[in-house]
Each structure stands twice: as C-alpha cells, then as structure tokens.
C-alpha cells in the first residue's frame, strides 16, 4: 500500500454547548493514499459536510488532527481542492471566468488562464457555454462549472462534497465516468463525500461508511473491482454484491436517522 497522503486522526467536532449541542463527528480516523479514490458515505445529517469542512481547513475548533503529506492542516491547504455541496458558482462571472478563478488568484496571465480554463470547461461538457452566466444554466450545469473550477486549480488532492447530488441519474453516471477517467489518468488522489451507494462503489478504491449521529467510522470497505470501470460494471454481480452489502449498513444508519427525527417530532 502506498503512503497515506491525507490522514484524519481521531477527529471530533461538536456544535453548540456541552449541554445543548450535537456531536457531528466523533473520533473519526481514516486515510487516503496517494492516487487513491476514497468515498465517505453516510445518511443525510450524519456529519459528512462537517468532516469535509474540517479536512478542507475551513472549520477550526475541533479535536484531533488532519495531515496532508505529513503536515498538520491548519487552514486551507494548497494541495487540496474543494468542490462544495451547495451551489457555489460566482453569479457575477461567466462560465469561463468562474473556472479561471483559481488561476486568476495565482496571477496567471489572462490569455493563459482562459486557455487552461477552456480545457476543463470542455472536460465537463460545457464547451459552447463559456460566455454564459450561472443564472442561464441548469443546476447540474452549474455544479459542473464548480467541478471544472476546482480541477483547473490542479490540486494534488481532490475533495468533493456530494458534487453529483443535483444531477440526474444519466448525467451523474456520465460525469462519474468522466471523473474516474480523469482520476485514473492523473492518478488524482480523491476523497468523495456522497450518499449514493452506486456512485461510491463505481468510483472508489475504498469506502468509509459513517454511522448516524455521532458520525463515526462504521466500517471501511475495500472495493476490489477491476478498472477501468465502464458502464458494464454496473450490471455485474460483484457490483451488486457490494451495493447490497453496503445497503445493509447504510439502511441501519439511515433508519436511526429517521427514528431520531420521529423522536423529536413526537
């Protein structure tokens, strides 16, 4: 096994006071090796985004440690590129300028950054929409702009929080295939946060299954499916077995989530 480039060590995060509050993430430990594709999966509200913000260096005030290349993360790390769960395009920038944003911050000349941005715009299938503004795009297209923007920064570690959640099933599969393609070609270290079982199995080398509140590591599953994983893999029996096995874990956690909600309601 390759050296871990990203480690999360005993991370615990509480919101609110000691009496009133939630432990969003508790004693969370896992790592991602160089070139590896890891997914974190868990039901809604289990603390995935919280974990995402902690790894991205955007949330302080937690216990434990996150390291990148051996260094403790203290604020946003240059090796990490983030794709957010919420819609995050800049409404005042057109597609190409949105994607060129990280290059602009680094002082790359206009001609060069537009050229490089165009490459990623094309990659996510938005060629021809360069001059459009986010308001003129669909939700899924906007999400692809965010993905292209983060890819344009060429991060060593790609960190994505449910980037495909707003996409329809077809686009999700196609874009998922695209992302794995890029990931395999660049040997891009990737951490994907998701609640989609098929997405996790299709894309990952390993899957971290989270428990519901507090968010802990329930299990880490290694996906031993051959690569490249084309569409045919989706119908293979091994694929089905992984999905079914994960579903058992996830159903239990999701049920606890629903029970908790019902409990509050009554």
């Amino acid at each position: 096994m390759a050296v871990p480039t990203l480690t999360v060590e005993h991370v615990t995060k509480r919101f609110g006071t000691t009496e009133f509050g939630v432990t969003a993430v508790e004693d969370f430990t896992f790592d991602v090796a160089e070139g590896e594709f890891v997914s974190v999966i868990g039901p809604s509200g289990c603390g995935k985004s919280t974990l995402f913000h902690i790894i991205g260096g955007l949330t302080g005030d937690y216990q434990g440690r996150v390291t990148v290349g051996g260094e403790t993360v203290n604020g946003p790390h240059p090796a990490i590129g983030m794709v957010f769960q919420e819609e995050s395009t800049f409404p005042w920038r057109n597609v190409i300028d949105n994607v060129a944003f990280p290059l602009e911050l680094r002082g790359v000349s206009r001609a060069e950054r537009l050229e490089r941005a165009l490459h990623y715009v094309t990659m996510v299938g938005l060629r021809g929409f360069e001059q459009r503004y986010p308001a003129e795009l669909s939700g899924g297209m906007r999400q692809r702009v965010s993905i292209a923007r983060t890819l344009a920064a060429q991060p060593k570690i790609l960190l994505m929080d449910e980037p495909f959640a707003s996409l329809d099933e077809q686009t999700r599969l196609l874009l998922g295939a695209k992302v794995t393609q890029i990931q395999q070609r660049l040997r891009q270290t990737t951490l994907l946060i998701t609640h989609s079982l098929t997405e996790a199995v299709q894309l990952s080398d390993r899957i971290v299954v989270m428990t519901f509140r507090p968010g802990r590591v329930r299990r880490i599953v290694e996906v031993r499916l051959p690569r490249p994983r084309g569409d045919d893999i989706l119908t293979s029996p091994e694929f089905g077995r992984y999905v079914a096995e994960l579903w058992v874990d996830l159903r239990e956690e999701a049920n606890r989530g629903l029970d908790a909600a019902e409990h509050l309601a009554t």
Binding site: P76, M82, F84, A153
Partner: protein, 241 residues
C-alpha cells in the same frame, strides 16, 4: 403611456394653478411670479457665465464629496460586514450617527476647513458616508457563506477576497447605498452653501433671495431639480447594466 399622460396632465394642472394664483393677486406679486417671468429668468440664468461658474464649484464639491465619502463608506461597510469583531465594536456608532442631521456639524467643519469648498466637501462626504457604509455592511452579511468558503479554499488573500468576492457580491447594495449617498451629499452641500459660502448653486439661490429676485430663485430651483433628476436617471441606468 397612460402613466405618462397622467403625469403631463398633473404638470399642466400645477402650472395652470400657479398662473392663476399669480394672476389673482391674492399673494404678494413677487412671491408667486408669473411663469412668464420665471421662464425669462431661466433664460437669463442659462446665459449667465456666473451660473456655470457656480455650477462648476458645486459639481466639483459634489464629486470630491462622493468620492471621499463613498470610498470611505464602502471600505467601512466591507470591514464592518466582514469582521464580526469590528462590527461589535463600532457598528452601533454608525447606526446612531446615521440619522443625525449632518448640518449640525457644519460650524465645526467651518472651523476645521474654512468657509470655502473644503467645509462643503466635508459636509457632503460625511452625509454620503453613512448610507453607503450601512448598505454595504448589510450587503456583505448577505453574501452566501459558501462563496466565501470557495475563496478561502483557493487561499485568496484578504485583498483578493475584498476585490474579487465581497465587492462584486455587494454590487447592488453598494449602488443603492451610493444612490442614497449622492442624494444626501447633494442636500448637505447645498444646505451648507446656503448657510455660509461665497460660491456655488446654494449661494446663488440665497443671493437671489436676498436681492428678492424671486423669478431668478425659482429658475435656479427648477435647474437644481432637473440636474438631480438627470443624475438619478443616470444612476438607475448604471444599476441596470
């Protein structure tokens, strides 16, 4: 179209009423001069180089005031909106001072900047500062946190955050604040000019009043209203693009 016709009817009605009042002799003749005299005074004023000189003085004061006050207000608004600590410390002051009629500071400004344009610019700048600062500060707070996270995630510097995220994100509240700011700056400057000055449109108005040149005074008022309306229309245009 119907609205425009309604406006026209109202304008004609007001002018007719004015003319009737002037002709009735109910009021002292010079207080409500016939529209004819006002039109004549308007022509005289527009042909008078002194009018343009004074207009230049007021415009210069106005431009200086809104540049200084607008820039200071925008910066203060950004700082207050983005920094919770600064907001906790100073925002109260801004809100307390905002509704205070700024003319009460005029004597102090006269002492500090003299009777010339300096004190008028200061009046305008102070007036412009508050609406811009308040509008920008609340605009900054309404910026979606995820956009800030994107900036931080790409490790934007404070300056880059301000110019590439906050500023474009608060464009609309900034323009609205500036619009209010321009209005109160014009009020502040004209008011200051009518109090104590040697030049400017406010000075001209008071001067014609002192000489009891009522048609001339009304002509000036009409011109001021037209100018303010023109500036406002230009800003509305800017806001839309």
């Amino acid at each position: 179209m119907a609205a425009a016709r309604l406006r026209l009817i109202a304008a004609v009605a007001i002018m007719a009423a004015w003319e009737a009042l002037a002709a009735s002799g109910l009021l002292f003749r010079d207080v409500v001069p016939s529209l004819w005299y006002i039109a004549k005074a308007l022509a005289i004023t527009l042909a008078d180089p002194a009018f343009y000189r004074n207009l230049g003085v007021t415009s210069g004061e106005f431009l200086m005031a809104v540049s200084v006050g607008g820039l200071a207000g925008a910066s203060a608004g950004l700082a207050l909106g983005a920094n919770r600590f600064l907001a906790a410390a100073y925002e109260r002051w801004v809100h307390y001072l905002a509704p205070v009629p700024k003319i009460i500071f005029f004597p102090a400004l006269l002492l500090a900047f003299g009777a010339g344009p300096g004190s008028k610019i200061a009046m305008g700048a102070i007036s412009c500062f508050f609406p811009v600062a308040i509008s920008v500060a609340s605009g900054v707070r309404a910026v979606r946190p995820v956009l800030l996270n994107v900036g931080h995630g790409f490790r934007a510097t404070t300056w880059q955050m301000a110019t590439k995220i906050y500023l474009p994100a608060v464009r609309e509240p900034l323009l609205n604040g500036l619009r209010l700011g321009f209005g109160v700056a014009a009020i502040g400057i004209l008011l200051a000019e009518t109090k104590l000055s040697k030049a400017g449109i406010g000075f001209l108005v008071m001067d014609s009043y002192r000489r009891f040149d009522m048609p001339g005074m009304y002509a000036l008022l009409i011109l001021v209203v037209l100018l303010v309306a023109a500036v406002n229309a230009a800003l509305t245009r800017l806001n839309r693009n």
